[in-house]
Amino acid sequence: MTRCLLLSMHEWKQQHAPRVPKVDRVHLEVGSFTCVEPDQLVVTWSDAVKGTWLDGSELVIESVPLVGRCIRCQATYSPDAADGFRSPCCQHPMEEIVSGRELRIRSVAYGFETASPPPTASCPTVAC
């Protein structure tokens, strides 16, 4: 997962070429119904970026809780393994997941180590 994050960050860096951004923080949204352990990802990130263009950057992870919607009663609820992920109102299986599957790079805080002013269109290919 760390490798995938590094690859995605590398693709983002290419948008600023030839300048190399100095990254302060990378903000992630990680759903609780994923295979990612946030604390582990933070540890592996700090090791993986040492000596690279991302050295010194901080990984900030916001956990997104698992929320389901019961298709019978339309109520949202917090599915729990102890309850078999079922809807508490009618015991219906977990059909719709409203949130909890997120694995998203929300934003990147960065700058440029130069005296020149920053570009006005800093991110041409994403919705800023």
Partner: protein, 233 residues
């Protein structure tokens, strides 16, 4: 010192892998090949499943296997013995196949045959109930195995795998008379996290359940081969 800037990305953490998976998928569609990603914990019976299905279906469909393993070629050698082309992918320390690894396996496969002559490409993933569930490889269908010896709680303990699966195979059912496990409870737990997945009970030893499983495969193959590809590599 630098002037602080911030880009809002909203970018999938796995975007780089997804790009490669989309590329693989475009090849599968162009070749008109159904690709299955077969996943389970170690020892659930993936290779035994393939041995039996490959032997039973080889006269009906042209097939090949990409065989993922952390180390050794043992599984690949077992499947080669069935007479089906097998490309081993040794992942080293990685606990799952990713799209780039499968892309590399496809290049090796192309050196041996024309993939457009295949009907079905099996990808046997590394034994692991966690990471493979998150990493798309370009497959059309995800197949998860759960053996009865693993207990009935695994769908609740590893829900992402079973949520993602298009089909769950409950394997080693010939052992049920010898185990204090309730297969109905296993299936109930699977359906609690994924009410719409197909579930079959199999034994690669006795062969029970394989006809229904192969019927499901035939339906998926028909579905993929009669659906025009939207994008081509």
């Amino acid at each position: 010192m630098h002037m602080p800037l911030e880009d809002s990305l909203g970018l999938n953490l796995l975007a780089a892998n997804q790009h490669r998976a989309d590329h693989n998928r475009a090849h599968f569609d162009a070749w008109n090949v159904l690709c299955l990603n077969v996943m389970s914990s170690p020892g659930a019976g993936k290779t035994s499943l393939l041995e039996r299905s490959l032997a039973a279906l080889s006269s009906r469909w042209a097939m090949a296997v990409l065989e993922g393993d952390m180390t050794t070629l043992l599984d690949a050698e077992r499947l080669e013995a069935v007479g089906i082309p097998v490309v081993p992918i040794t992942t080293g320390r990685a606990c799952h196949l990713d799209a780039a690894m499968v892309g590399g396996g496809l290049k090796l496969l192309q050196q041996r045959l024309d993939p457009a002559e295949l009907d079905l490409l099996w990808v046997e993933n590394v034994g692991n109930l966690v990471c493979p569930a998150e990493f798309a490889i370009g497959e059309h269908r995800k197949v998860a195995l759960l053996s009865v010896t693993e207990g009935d709680d695994k769908p609740l303990k590893y829900p992402v795998m079973f949520r993602e699966a298009d089909c769950v195979l409950i394997t080693k059912v010939d052992l049920l008379p010898h185990l204090p496990v309730d297969v109905e409870r296993i299936e109930t737990h699977i359906r609690q996290v994924n009410p719409h997945t197909a579930v079959f009970r199999l034994s690669a030893t006795s062969g029970v359940g394989f006809d229904a499983w192969h019927d499901w495969l035939a339906a998926q193959l028909t579905s993929v081969q009669t659906t025009p590809a939207l994008i081509h590599a």
